[in-house]
Amino acid sequence: MTPGHRRLLALALVLAVASLAIALLVGSTDIPSAEVLRHLLGDDGSVQDRIVDQLRLPRALTAFAVGGLLAVAGVMMQVLLRNPLADPYVLGVSGGAASAVLGAMLLALPVAWYTAAATVGALFSTLLVFGLTHAGDDWRSERLLLTGIVVAAGWAALISFVLSVSPSDRLPGMLFWLMGDLGQASTPSVPLALLIGVLMLAMLRARDLNVATQGMLRAAALGVDTGRLRLELYFAAALLTAAAVAIAGAIGFVGLIVPHLLRRLGGSDHRVLLPGAALVGGSLLVLADTAARTLIRPMQLPVGVLTAMIGVPVFLYLLHTRTAR
């Protein structure tokens, strides 16, 4: 690890801690920072205590986990498709997962089914995009993006269909969830455990990923079992996306912005990029969510609106600079 790598990871860690602290300190109820710390450590049964322990903390941790999941899924898809523009949202994977969850909502299935539905939707959507894009030994960038965008449009149409036939009392919940919402988040332990578990497994493959960015044939020549790597990346990326969508709805562009930013800062080595993406992706979503629930308080915005507002210009800029080269 070079000093630059260490600096980058330290910076990401500081950012993560700072973002979580801000999320705990800021909200529609003003609680002094000393009080927040006291509520965090002890329990006095007050309303403020419940706000910190049962609302802000779980929500911040869930936001962190979901952001991390999306950013790591983005890194994996970018390697798999050899394209820094790949992102679960852009490629329609989130759309597939969201359609499946909306279907489950329409059928009034129990909430526990959402994750399963999201996983099936994400895997199917990924398979569809990959299957239609795969050409010979390599993936074609333009075809991939076009396929992903068209598939995403298809899911959007399906989503509109489900919304139009849904009973009106369920519509507001569905809409808010669709735009990406962490308001219902309450059990951060599951996504956090998933993030840490997948990250640890991915770290074993980090150097393989470095080699794979230069093409699967070259990776094979350097001793990577590329068939297995592809399969692992495919399932891991779809699973992470599915988990994120099932918890927080379709939040876009985290998987695109975060890896790009880290690469720009000298973190293109996956041994740095993977943990860095988890930390920075988590921080980004925590900050976005904090902004979403405080910008026009006491009203809450869906966090997906905020990430898209940052993500769209970044994506367009990236697309432009890549085509210009």
Partner: protein
């Protein structure tokens, strides 16, 4: 002298076409092979097959006293290094990071490149004449520079057998000469051998001890360069007559145009 790679009764097909049939090939240390043939004759496919990246239709390839396809990918990459015909810039990696990936098959899953690995990579950059580019992003290089970085990576892999697919693509004559000298020094020796796809018969003659020629219809000619060169001079195996002026180390191949 050790046998680094042995192919027996090798048959490779692409769709309906026979690229080579019943090929017997033995690459021993101290040898350097030129792989010749017309466009589309199957040189690249054969090179990929010998590297274990492509399964032959029939026949066997032995490497390190083991069937090549049963060798674990990592072990295979420790024995055989490959320069692919096309370079991909990847995204964001620097020249040094790229050459360091040549050390990939020698490192454990969790280990970082050691001081030794970095020293090897730096030395290989110097051998390929790109030491000044170490910190540059790959995306900023010219075609010739990228080619030499790829060659440095193959050298950093330190495999006994190195296979090069058109190593001189994009190189100016000064760099062709320098790379040719470097490959002869570092890839051919008591424990090393190389095989390269080339079109220039002069390079094939002066750089290689053995020639392997694919005729594009499944037939092949393999052996010491003088023997195969005689066939090329007698028959238009490369699709065009060829003349040789002078003998031995002073020989020059000429392609008569009328």
């Amino acid at each position: 002298m050790t046998v680094l790679l042995e192919a027996r009764e090798l048959r490779i097909e692409r769709g309906e076409r026979q690229l080579c049939t019943a090929l017997d090939l033995r690459i021993e240390s101290t040898q350097s092979w030129a792989l010749l043939g017309r466009n589309g004759a199957g040189k690249t496919t054969l090179l990929h097959t010998l590297a274990g990246l492509h399964m032959p239709t029939a026949g066997s390839i032995t490497c390190a006293e083991q069937a090549l396809h049963t060798l674990a990918p990592r072990a295979r990459a420790q024995h055989i290094a490959v320069l692919l015909q096309h370079s991909g810039p990847g995204f964001g990696a620097s020249v040094l990071e790229t050459v360091l990936t040549g050390r990939h098959p020698h490192l454990g899953a969790f280990s970082w490149e050691s001081r030794d690995d970095i020293a090897i990579a730096t030395r290989c950059l110097a051998i390929a004449g790109v030491e000044g580019l170490a910190q540059r992003p790959l995306t900023t290089l010219s075609g010739g520079e990228l080619r030499r970085v790829e060659i440095a990576r193959v050298l950093a892999q330190q495999a006994p057998l190195a296979l090069f697919d058109e190593p001189f693509n994009h190189l100016d004559i000064a760099h062709q000469a320098a790379i040719l000298r470097a490959l002869r020094t570092h890839c051919v020796g008591p424990a090393n051998a190389m095989l390269m796809v080339v079109h220039d018969l002069n390079i094939a003659w002066h750089a290689c001890t053995h020639w392997l020629l694919l005729d594009g219809h499944g037939g092949w000619h393999a052996g010491p360069r003088d023997t195969v060169a005689e066939r090329v001079l007698r028959e238009p195996l490369l699709g065009h007559p060829v003349e040789r002026l002078g003998e031995g180390e002073r020989a020059v191949f000429r392609i008569p145009l009328d």
